[in-house]
Symmetry: C2
Subunit: 188 residues, 2 copies
DNA sequence: GCGAGATAGTTAAGTTGTCAAGCTATTTCC
DNA sequence: GGAAATAGCTTGACAACTTAACTATCTCGC
């Protein structure tokens, strides 16, 4: 196996195998990809259960997650989910229509809007809980107390490093730079 | 804190906190959600770099991942990514057009089709590697050799348990069962 | 204290991702 | 040898999501 260093998709030693290869790393990426696709499927089922579309459900639980005490704004929700503010506006509109979210202008900053989950929204999520419990148990069935601890801490860290990574990729892969079929590259 | 057991979204002890609460578990779910949204953003940048759309890129690397020795079929790719075969057919068609994937009928089973990455496709991915390396290092910056080991093994297991979980959710959330807005809603 | 930018959100119009349904060709297996 | 299962393809139709252009408010440097 003439392993070519130039082809590695990661270089940190912690991510490479004994032979300096990235096979395990790649496999992990594909596993994570498949896993998150399944998570999304499950979320779609949850959404259906309470009569929402998948993005609506995702936005609803995000609002609840971020609303601590005071409410949360459109932009914060959009950032957290990596969605455009326009889309979040549109979908929260529907959530308000459905009576599961309340939207009111902020008192201090009148450009802003405060999103909170209504009692009705909370009630729907409460009804979902029993089903969720059963499915989540299955979803994370391989986790032990130990590995849950690791994963739980890691998830928080990875969220942040991934945010950085997106910024880095925007910098490295600027509009037009690329290895496209033939044409030369230009930086912005 | 009158923690109500009925509202928990997980019940396995390994997933609950000292107080029997699911706060950490929920936080983890939101972190994973945000993380995978960022992963998707990064994939979109990778795709752009080699002149493909995000789903095309994802399908391309999945074909490469699964093609070991012999090629891989449409259905296997669809299953791995939780996409419909119809969509995979359509997008692989475009990948063939773009010259990055080869599609030929299987010799043994003439219903089937064998997908492989062409030399040109491999070359594009090779050109992407240096960028990928830098971004992946940032993406997984918090990982140590230890935690990489844990995560790597976990990802493989979670992929399977999640597959089970999707089946379970299909069973539990059958067409029409639900906590919709009051009325028992009939779907078409 | 005042105009130039930045920031929050909305609206409308468009693009892209994705699927369901219906079809053909093959294989399986009773 | 035929019914049922399986692999893939085609077409239409939506749902998900974005970009661009706009309004309203806020923040500062000067």
């Amino acid at each position: 196996m003439t392993r070519n260093e130039e082809m590695l998709t990661a270089s940190r030693p912690a991510l490479l195998g004994a032979a300096g290869d990235d096979a395990a790393f790649r496999r992990m990426l594909h596993d994570l990809l498949a896993f998150s696709a399944r998570l999304e499927q499950v979320r779609a089922r949850f959404a259906a259960f309470i009569g929402l579309t998948p993005p609506q459900y995702t936005i609803l639980i995000t609002i609840r997650h971020l609303q601590d005490g005071e409410g949360v704004g459109v932009r914060q929700v959009a950032d957290h989910l990596a969605l455009s503010p326009a889309f979040v506006t549109q979908e929260t509109g529907r959530l308000v229509q459905a009576g599961v979210v309340d939207k009111r202008p902020s008192a201090e900053d009148r450009r802003r809007v405060i999103l909170t989950v209504t009692e009705h929204g909370a009630e729907l999520l409460r009804r979902l809980a029993p089903v969720q419990r059963e499915i989540n148990d299955q979803l994370f069935e391989p986790l032990t107390e130990q590995s849950f601890g690791v994963l739980q801490a890691l998830a928080a860290e990875l969220r942040e490093s991934a945010e950085q990574a997106v910024r880095l990729s925007d910098y490295l892969i600027a509009e037009g730079a690329g290895a496209g079929t033939g044409s030369g590259q230009r930086s912005k």
